[in-house]
Symmetry: C2
Subunit: 242 residues, 2 copies
């Protein structure tokens, strides 16, 4: 197999969605951690539910709706200014350590992003983090009017990059995205960022619960072809594949 | 509007999915509460993800896969006998208090269940709880080869019961199901079983986190037509509608 393109998920893979926590704690105090975890889980749920229901909802609006859900559930007043500050952080999330280094090392290949984010969100994110020039395309699933893991999303890659599905190495830390990309027919590298420490009892907080729920491989069909620990492991995987 | 049929969601609406907790605690000790919450959340996630991915997976297999995920995440050995005992409880979940009383009071109308469960699971559940004779039909979404809230699921009702969508009062405690049924065009009664107590801080356990995530109205379009506190409030809602 020759890898002609490496395609990256954005949220949770290149960009740390948990990097909203600092601001959430600044703005929501002792509820900040809870808001962070409820927000991300509800954002994912809304993407899946909206994908199933139809209705072509913008990911920015879904992200805002899930933030408002999280604030209300946590008992934090839904102040428009507070919401705007947290939403703005979503356009300026931190890159994971080593992301730029890994992308630079892969720059001889065709690189792209395929994300649930809206085109505007992704363009802003890529520009803010200064990695725009490294990508041949930044693909929003909005072009398919649904959300991952709907196969119509992964099919966008072939069209946008002019490559066959067997020539793509898809990279994600999200278990559901790994399952969807693998079912579609990509080769997949799963960045295993850790499913948390095995708990001693049921007495765990929201951050640990989130890790258990989201950090592990999903039981939804064939698993990833490669399990790696960090983005910086990618160049050697790609080199092995040719 | 005349209500010609009342259609009930099963899991979480007529039947208490949290009633697996007792057995989970018996079998998994201090991890039982954690297993209970991870299991249910992952089961829901898998239904939505499989619905989006396609693949027509049976809900019984999804439920088993999500149980194994939950056990592994909690650090409990995936023993086949333990799994079988917990799975068996899914065929014999407790009816919510007042369920039989409410169904009896509504027995002059056409009643049905529409559930993500497989036909086998639902038939077993309805038989174990002795309410089978009260229903005109027990409809598994498997007939539509997808899961709620895909509109194809709700469309099964019209065909199965011979009623128009505007003649149906759909009853669910699940926010995502309310959103899907409402978007489809049913009149909807939401059983608000409580989104948990507003927490004082981020320091909450899995059961409370589950309630915050699942017990509230979703921000996915128009809300329910009726908000009720218990199944026993239904006869008066139905009487009002005619």
């Amino acid at each position: 197999m020759t890898v002609r393109a490496l395609v990256f998920d954005a949220y949770g893979t290149l960009y740390d969605v948990q990097s909203v926590r600092g601001l959430a704690v600044e703005l929501c105090g002792r509820k900040g951690e809870l808001v962070t975890q409820l927000w991300r889980l509800k954002q994912l749920e809304y993407s899946w539910l909206r994908g199933l229901m139809g209705g072509d909802e913008d990911f920015w609006r879904l992200t805002r709706a899930s933030l408002e859900f999280a604030l209300e559930a946590a008992g934090v007043a839904v102040d428009p200014k507070l919401c705007e500050r947290l939403m703005a952080k979503y356009l300026d999330l931190d890159l994971y350590p080593g992301a730029r280094e890994a992308l630079d090392a892969l720059a001889g290949r065709k690189l792209a992003i395929l994300s649930n984010g809206s085109q505007k969100m992704l363009d802003a994110l890529v520009e803010a983090s200064g990695v725009g020039p490294l990508f041949a395309d930044v693909i929003s699933v909005a072009r398919a009017k649904t959300f991952k893991p709907d196969p119509k999303c992964y099919a966008l890659v072939e069209q946008a990059l002019g490559v066959g599905k067997h020539e793509v190495l898809f990279v994600s830390s999200n278990g559901f995205d790994v399952a969807g990309a693998k079912a579609f027919g990509f080769k997949v590298a799963w960045i295993e960022r850790g499913g948390g420490v095995t708990p001693a009892s049921s007495d765990i907080g929201p951050a640990e619960f989130y890790k258990l729920l989201r950090g592990r491989a999903e039981k939804l069909g064939p698993g990833a072809d490669f399990r790696i620990k960090a983005l910086t492991d990618l160049p050697s995987v790609a080199a092995r594949l040719g």
